[in-house]
C-alpha cells in the first residue's frame, strides 16, 4: 500500500484538467488547514480567507507538484507561507502557541463565535453537527468506536489498528467503514435539515 496514493490519484486528475477532483482535496483538508492557519491569526474568518487563498495558490502551483512529497505536506507549506505573509502584510504579530489557551474550550468557542455571530444559523448548525457526531460515536459498538477513534484521533494506519485490536486489517477497514456509515446517517439529516432552515431564513 503506497502512502498518499489517494491524494496523488486526485492530484493527477486535477493536473489533467479535472477541477472536480480538486474539490475533493479541499473537502478533505479544509478543516485541518483552517486549524493550522489559526496558529497565526486570531480571527477564524481571517483564517478561512487565508486557507482559501492557500488552496487557490496550491491549485495554480499544482503543475509543479511532482509527488516527491505527500500532497498535504506540500499544501501545509503553502498555507504556512500564506499565513506568514498575511500576518506581515497586515502588520500583526502571530499569536503564541499557548497550550492552555488551545486546550480551553471556552477560548475556542469564543473564537468560533466571532465568525458564527454573523450567521446565526451557522452557529446553530456547527453546534448541532458537533453534538450529533458525538452522540453517534457514543452510540457505536465498542469495536467500531475504538477503530474510528484510533484512526481519526491517533492517526494510526489500518495495520497499526489491526495490531492494537488484534484483528485482521480487513476487519479494521470494515469496522471503520461501518462506524462512518452509522455516523453519516445521522449527520446527513443534520446537513439536509440545516440547509432547509437556511433556505427558510433566506
Amino acid at each position: 500500500m503506497s502512502a498518499d496514493a489517494s491524494d496523488l490519484s486526485l492530484v493527477r486528475r486535477v493536473q489533467r484538467g479535472d477541477k472536480g477532483a480538486f474539490d475533493a482535496l479541499v473537502l478533505k483538508y479544509q478543516h485541518k488547514l483552517v486549524k493550522l492557519v489559526m496558529r497565526y491569526v486570531r480571527n477564524p474568518a481571517e483564517a478561512e480567507d487565508i486557507a482559501q487563498e492557500a488552496f487557490i495558490k496550491a491549485y495554480r502551483a499544482l503543475p509543479q507538484f511532482r509527488g516527491d512529497s505527500a500532497f498535504y505536506t506540500w499544501l501545509y507549506r503553502i498555507a504556512i507561507n500564506t499565513a506568514k505573509n498575511a500576518v506581515v502584510s497586515r502588520d500583526r504579530s502571530p499569536i503564541e502557541y499557548d497550550l492552555d489557551r488551545h486546550n480551553s474550550d471556552e477560548s475556542y468557542e469564543m473564537q468560533g463565535r466571532m465568525k458564527d455571530s454573523e450567521t446565526p444559523e451557522g452557529l446553530v448548525l456547527t453546534d448541532e453537527i458537533r453534538s450529533t457526531v458525538n452522540a453517534a460515536i457514543d452510540a457505536l459498538p465498542e469495536d467500531l468506536r475504538t477503530a474510528i477513534v484510533l484512526r481519526e484521533l491517533e492517526g494510526l494506519s489500518y495495520e497499526e489498528i489491526a495490531a492494537a485490536m488484534d484483528c485482521p486489517v480487513g476487519t479494521v477497514r470494515s469496522r471503520i467503514f461501518r462506524a462512518r456509515e452509522a455516523i453519516d446517517r445521522r449527520l446527513r439529516e443534520v446537513f439536509e435539515g440545516g440547509l432547509g432552515r437556511a433556505e427558510e431564513l433566506g
Binding site: A5, L8, R16, K19, E109, Q111, Y158
Partner: protein, 217 residues
C-alpha cells in the same frame, strides 16, 4: 451505490486503498456530487473527533474555492512537467558509457596480452624470421635519396639480449623493414621511443649505433 464502493471510499479517505482502485474511485469522486458530499462529511466526522474547535464545520470554504476556480483555466497536460521527456534527452548517456567501457576493456585486453610470457618469445621468433637480417644490404641515405626511395633508418643490432625481451634494435629494424606500410611521422616517433628506452651500454647517455636519417622531400 453499493456497500463495496462505500467501503472503498472510506478506505481511500484513509489512504488505505490500493493505487489502482484509487484511480477508479478518484474518477467517480470527481464527477459524483453525492459521493463528494459523503466524502466531505467523512472529513467533518474526523474534525469533530479531533475536537478541532474554532473551525466552522459547516464553513462554505470548499464552495468558495470552487467558485473562484471556475474562473481559472483548467490545468492541461502540457503545463505539467513530464519526466519521460527529460529522460529522453539523455539517451546518449548510456551509449557513451557503453562505448567508453568497451574502449577501456579493449585496452586492458591488449595490455594483458602484451604482458603474457609467451608473447615476447613469439614476437622474437617472428623477428628472427623477418627479412631484415645482418646481411641485409643497407642502402645509404644518399643513394636512397637519389633513387627516390622513401626514408630509411638503420639501427645496428645489439649483441646481447635478455630472454623473452625483444631487443629494441631488432624491433627497430623490423619497423624499418616494414616502413613502407606506415606513415613517416608515426615511424619516426616509434623509432625515437625505441632509442630512448634502450639502455645505453657503457653508461653512455646517447644511443649507440648510427642512426641515419634522411628527410624526404
Amino acid at each position: 451505490m453499493n456497500e463495496e464502493l462505500d467501503s472503498q471510499l472510506s478506505a481511500m479517505f484513509d489512504d488505505e486503498l490500493a493505487p489502482g482502485e484509487c484511480e477508479l474511485m478518484a474518477r467517480r469522486l470527481s464527477r459524483d456530487e453525492q459521493l463528494k458530499a459523503r466524502w466531505g462529511r467523512y472529513a467533518v466526522v474526523g474534525a469533530v473527533i479531533r475536537a478541532e474547535r474554532g473551525v466552522r464545520l459547516n464553513a462554505p470554504l470548499a464552495g468558495r474555492v470552487s467558485a473562484v476556480l471556475l474562473a481559472e483555466p483548467a490545468l492541461t497536460a502540457q503545463s505539467v512537467p513530464s519526466i519521460p521527456q527529460r529522460a529522453g534527452l539523455r539517451w546518449w548517456q548510456p551509449v557513451a558509457a557503453t562505448a567508453l567501457a568497451a574502449g577501456v576493456a579493449a585496452v586492458c585486453v591488449m595490455w594483458l596480452h602484451a604482458q603474457a610470457p609467451g608473447y615476447g618469445a613469439s614476437l622474437t621468433a617472428q623477428l628472427s624470421a623477418a627479412p631484415i637480417r645482418s646481411d641485409t644490404p643497407v642502402i645509404p641515405a644518399s643513394v636512397a635519396l637519389s633513387a627516390g626511395q622513401p626514408d630509411s633508418y638503420t639501427v645496428p643490432r645489439t649483441p646481447k639480449t635478455l630472454p623473452g625481451v625483444v631487443p629494441s634494435t631488432e624491433l627497430a629494424n623490423y619497423v624499418v623493414a616494414h616502413s613502407m606500410f606506415s606513415p613517416p611521422v608515426a615511424r619516426r616517433n616509434l623509432l625515437s621511443a625505441f632509442m630512448t628506452s634502450e639502455p645505453a651500454p657503457g653508461g653512455a647517455e646517447e644511443p649507440q649505433g648510427n642512426v641515419k636519417k634522411t628527410t624526404g622531400p
